[in-house]
């Protein structure tokens, strides 16, 4: 689990901003413009090098239409598959997923 959640930077906060951005195909600049910060700040947030103010955290949560605790946490996030299905990804499943394109 720790491998899926690299330790946060100076802020001590884990976050899912990068995952949510990639999932919704949003650029750093788009997110930065929406919440009124510099796009560099989004990079610092994603790496955990900067802990946002409460206001900024709520703005980001509102932008993604998610609760704050779904985006920021002081504890490492569980993988989404584990949260949704209650099972952790196994190494065999991972290998199977990787081998699927070759089989087809």
């Amino acid at each position: 689990m720790q491998q899926n959640n690299p330790p946060p930077g100076e802020s001590g906060l884990y976050n899912r901003i990068a995952v949510l951005r990639a999932e919704r195909n949003i650029s750093r600049q788009d997110l930065a413009d929406a919440v009124g910060v510099n796009y560099q700040t989004i990079g610092f947030l994603e790496r955990g090098d900067y802990g946002p103010s409460l206001k900024l955290a709520f703005q980001i949560a509102a932008y993604f239409a998610l609760p704050v605790e779904a985006i920021f946490s002081t504890e490492p996030f569980q993988p989404l598959s584990q949260q949704v299905y209650g099972t952790a990804p196994t190494s065999s499943a991972t290998n199977q997923t990787r081998s699927t394109p070759h089989e087809s």
Binding site: S27, R28, Q29, A32, G36, V37, N38, Y39, Q40, T41, G43, F44, Y50, P52, S53, L56
Partner: protein
Amino acid sequence: MKAELNFFGKTLDMAPQRRRRTLVVLIYSAMAVLMVVLYLLTHWRGTGAYMFWAAMLACRLFLGGYYTGGLVKPFNNKGPRRYDMPPPLLLLKLRIYQPVPSSDDSAYRNDERELHQRDHAHYLAYQAIGVSVIIPMFVASMRVIRPALLAWIPMNPDEIYYGLLLIALTLFLTLPQSILLWTEPDMETSA
């Protein structure tokens, strides 16, 4: 902080930290050379104020922190003032910087991380400037208590005080911006 420096119409990419550090070293080297030259010319009599103008020019062109030029956004977190009439310098075409764009002033506003960085840089600079002010006081006290200790310096005490105060003034004007440029890591593209 801006990733690009607009210098007389040319755009310089200052996103890499190494370039910004090189710029800071060059600026302080130039200031040191200027200070030595002014001392050799006039012992800073009547020319010490040039250090102030040199520091302001460095801020305007490279460092920022005040007004609109330079890499660091204005410390006061406000956009530039605008006038209905162009200032006389623009009419005379004597400007040395790009005219103020008429767009919104969000490019001059610091966000919360930049404000935090700004305050931290001033905290660090405050200590260095404090030391640079304490040194002249120490020198002044040594001049009274142990004048023989200062005999090896080939300058009279008043020149020492003045030189140290010029250094303090230069640091006061430029050090916070320099700390910001020095410590900010490599800047990323907006994609």
